[in-house]
């Protein structure tokens, strides 16, 4: 039974690349999606070990690449997290406070990534 978000969107629904029907991109998207779980593991590890700088770099990479692979929403969220980490890290050198501020967004990013698929929409 798929869960419903408060705004009525299906939060279990697969997220497709906007380029999923572009034959030039198919192979690339498959590669990108297949590597995504490994990256999300790195995100989890960075978040749980309070490593704000690694987390910031991971977000930076996702911000720069997701859009190009047709996952613009993911890229924008990663960008917001990167920026939040960038400005807060200055105030808290250990990065702990910074991580607290973005924890919720990191969780939603992880959840979004789990829904990403290389398949074309029906």
């Amino acid at each position: 039974m798929p869960s419903q978000a408060r705004d009525g969107r299906n939060t279990d629904a697969a997220i497709h690349s906007t380029f999923a029907n572009d034959p030039d991109m198919r192979e690339l998207i498959e590669l990108f999606v297949s590597e995504l779980p490994g990256r999300i593991d790195e995100v989890r590890i960075a978040a749980s070990s309070q490593d704000a700088e690694s987390l910031r770099r991971l977000m930076h990479m996702l911000r720069g690449s997701c859009g190009g692979y047709g996952f613009a929403e993911l890229g924008r969220l990663a960008g917001r997290i990167e920026e939040a980490l960038g400005c807060c890290a200055i105030q808290t050198p250990d990065g702990e406070g910074a991580l607290d501020n973005v924890r919720a967004e990191v969780h939603s990013l992880i959840a979004l990534c789990a829904r990403v698929t290389a398949a074309a929409p029906d």
Partner: protein, 325 residues
Amino acid sequence: MPNPSDNPRVLLIDDSIDVHRLLKVRLRHEQIRLVDALNARDGLELAKKEPPATILLDLDMPDTDGFEVLRALKEDSTTNSIPVIVLSAMSSSEDKVTAFDLGATDYVTKPFDLAELRARLRAALRLDQLLHLLADRANVDGLTGLGNRAHFNKRWAEKVAECRRHPMPLALAMCDVDHFKRVNDTYGHPAGDEVLQGVAKMLQSECREIDVACRYGGEEFALIMPATSTPDALVVAERVREALMRVIWPRHPEHQITMSIGLVGSSGGIGEATAANWLEQADRNLYSAKRDGRNRVVSSELDSSVRWTSRASDAPSADSQAKAA
């Protein structure tokens, strides 16, 4: 059918493998060859080793700030004229201003709008082409299309330096049109220009692929013959001299044009000789050829034993131009 290996090289410096994969596919149909560097150090090294036609440079990389790479590219004379398109996920106008102030040609924000990136890349490649055209123009003599004196000075200094590092034969012939002033005075300057153009054409058709023919100035031409011994260079010089004698000039078919040639060659060890005094020795032989009656080649082995006065500099000196007409 165009050869893909003739396509201009575009160097992508970006720490994200995703961006490399993406652009490789997205720029597949552009007439370019994409070269990859995943960090700043490799990127700089590649750019210097074989300067590309355009560089796509990521600003945010873990090892070095992209601005540092841009600064290094612009400080190095082999890379400073390469157009650089900065790629960045940051779109603050401060970053853009810094990038342009440091010499970036363009700025594109990630994620890429592909049509825009392609258009901007093409514009950068056009700029590179124009810059090359300009640089070529600065080295070309407008009247004859041969390399000019600046070009000769550069090439000759390079060849002598090569010869010093790796001894091998090398010869230089200085060629001067005989009684050129008479052509101008008798038939007018357009006729004189035609003679200079004709000499240039003849030089190019008579010399070999490896030779470098330049207009040294006025009615004087220089012929650099790499990997050529003095006797072999003499054969080329004689062929050039005879070919000129055979030319029939439309404006003055009754008036034959000849030239005198001073040749100096070395079979290897150039000792104390520099580019400048080698040229002086060729000038002396040219003077002898003029004095002995013109329309002849005077040739000698390079005198590498004498310390010539102008050895402080490898560039040909101004006093080496004194010439008998």
